[in-house]
């Protein structure tokens, strides 16, 4: 094998509304950490097209994939790489119909094996396990990831990760991407904290 080492990377989820602090943390993160993908969350409010546009420019400059939550038309109009949707057969089919085979369509909000298998079978580009807000759902998420990584080739994302310890543990279970909780941007020194998690993942890659 050319590569037997794990290659787990960061997946950033961004709040729908920009702020100066957020943009500065994001710039710092993209400059310092090895980021695979940026997802712009959807808060059902009015679309801020200039925020969309800035993110598209920034992700292109850093050669990071750019996804939009839920809205296929919006993704298409800004030239995003694809969308992230909650697991659901009708939702998936409609999105794939609009965006075509080339676009990335990832399925999230998966808390059981059945949904994950259905979405992968349909052709989702990745399945995301989570959210996890307490000890028992975090355990559940870890079990699902370990099970999935063992059996399937469709990449899996660990959703709503908050800490470096969690990131490291889920990477060791076989998560392909670590999606940090959108809330991490609110913390003091978010850019640094995220870069630290990125460094932990990088270390896990090189140590293996």
């Amino acid at each position: 094998m050319v590569e037997a080492v794990p290659h787990c990377r960061l997946y950033l989820t961004l709040p729908a509304r920009p702020s100066a602090a957020l943009e500065s943390s994001l710039a710092q993160t993209l400059a310092e950490a090895d980021v695979a993908c940026v997802l712009l969350r959807d808060d059902m409010g009015p679309i801020d097209t200039s925020w969309d546009f800035r993110l598209r420019e920034l992700t292109l400059a850093h050669e990071v994939a750019f996804l939009i939550e839920n809205d296929a038309e919006r993704a298409e109009s800004i030239g995003a790489d694809g969308i992230h949707i909650p697991a659901g057969v009708a939702l998936y089919r409609s999105a794939r119909g609009k965006l075509g085979q080339r676009a990335i369509i990832g399925a999230g909000c998966i808390e059981n094996r059945h949904d994950a298998m259905i979405m992968a079978e349909l052709g989702a580009d990745y399945v995301a396990f989570g959210p996890a807000e307490d000890e028992s759902t975090r355990e559940r998420r870890a079990e699902l990831i370990a099970w999935w990584a063992e059996i399937f080739v469709v990449p899996c994302v660990a959703w709503d990760v908050e800490t470096a310890e969690e990131a490291e543990r889920l990477a060791s279970f076989g998560a392909d991407f670590i999606a940090l909780s959108t809330a991490v941007w609110q913390a003091e020194g978010a850019g640094h904290r995220i870069a630290t998690i990125g460094a932990v993942l990088r270390e896990a890659r090189t140590a293996a």
Binding site: M1, V2, E3, V5, H7, R9, D34, V35, A36, C37, H62, E63, V64, A65, D81, I104, D125, Y126, V153, V154, P155, D176
Partner: protein, 303 residues
């Protein structure tokens, strides 16, 4: 996520000496050296050196520095280079400069190293011109001076040193010490690429692909990416994988895309889209890509 090829970095002070000795004057000692008869070369060079040949002193320095047929002895190498340097041999001035810059066999002294590089550079030694340019850029051993860095880089590039052509292209690209000039950036980067420098091929490929400073030429860009990728440049491997994934300038080929992506990723340049593509391969395609990547690596190891 993709790391840019390092450009204008000072890490290049260590350079193969083959380039300098290739320019040396032909003598019986050098002839023996070129044939790998190092002990004979050593004897002949000692005799030639006693008669005051500066090239022979330089050769002695190279033999002792490389530990060729004798135990490596850096202080002897430095002594021999110093004698040749005093006699005005530019290659020796440069080689001694490198030892002094790195503190190998002699006390590290960046100012002295800069002085030695300047002497050799004045004598037309291209590697010395190149390293002097880097010193002016970095400001260690000489006060930083981007204009002087450009002047010396230009001289080294005019002498046909591919690294200098590449870095001069970088000066024009980023507007350091000169006004930014995309056309000149593409021209000099292209020369380094044609000379076979993998970083330059990757960079030139991007310029051709985007039409930066030069007319768009996707086919030629693909060729540059391929040549660079084959030499192990991870950025170019990633670009080539994308071309295969999207069928741009080449016939779409998921196995080739996966092969080059696996190699680039193993070398530290990953790509979300291509990671997802891997999962869409049939087991047979994946096995073929793994095999192709492994064969590529094995070929490299045996080279």
């Amino acid at each position: 996520m993709t790391e840019q090829a390092p450009r204008l970095s000072l890490a290049a002070l260590m350079l193969a000496l083959a380039w300098s000795s290739a320019n040396a004057t032909e003598s019986p000692a050098y002839a023996a050296y070129a044939q790998g008869q190092y002990l004979t070369a050593l004897k002949l060079a000692e005799a030639e050196a006693e008669k005051g040949s500066k090239e022979a002193y330089t050769l002695l320095g190279e033999i002792y520095e490389g530990g060729l047929g004798v135990a490596q002895n850096l202080s002897k190498a430095a002594d021999s280079y110093a004698k040749a340097a005093d006699l005005g041999d530019a290659n020796a001035q440069f080689s001694l400069g490198l030892l002094v810059a790195e503190g190998r066999g002699v006390k590290k002294d960046l100012k002295l190293a800069a002085n030695l590089f300047e002497k050799a550079a004045d004598g037309g030694q291209a590697l010395a011109q190149y390293n002097l340019a880097l010193i002016y850029l970095d400001g260690k051993g000489r006060p930083a001076d981007e204009k002087k860095a450009v002047e010396w880089m230009q001289k080294a590039a005019d002498n046909g040193l591919p690294l200098a052509e590449y870095d001069l292209g970088g000066f024009y690209q980023f507007g350091r010490g000169v006004a930014a000039d995309k056309a000149k950036a593409a021209d000099w980067t292209g020369r380094a690429a044609e000379a076979g420098l993998p970083e330059a091929q990757a960079e030139y490929g991007v310029m051709l692909f985007k039409g930066e400073g030069i007319a768009v030429d996707e086919k030629r860009a693909a060729k540059m990416f391929r040549m660079s990728a084959e030499q192990g440049n991870a950025v170019a491997q990633n670009r080539l994988a994308r071309l295969y994934a999207n069928g741009v300038a080449v016939q779409a080929d998921p196995v080739q895309a996966a092969k080059w992506h696996l190699l680039a990723r193993a070398a530290g340049v990953s790509d979300f889209n291509l990671d997802l593509l891997l999962a869409k391969l049939t087991p047979e395609q994946r096995a073929a890509a793994d095999k192709a990547a492994e064969e590529w690596q094995n070929d490299r190891l045996t080279e």
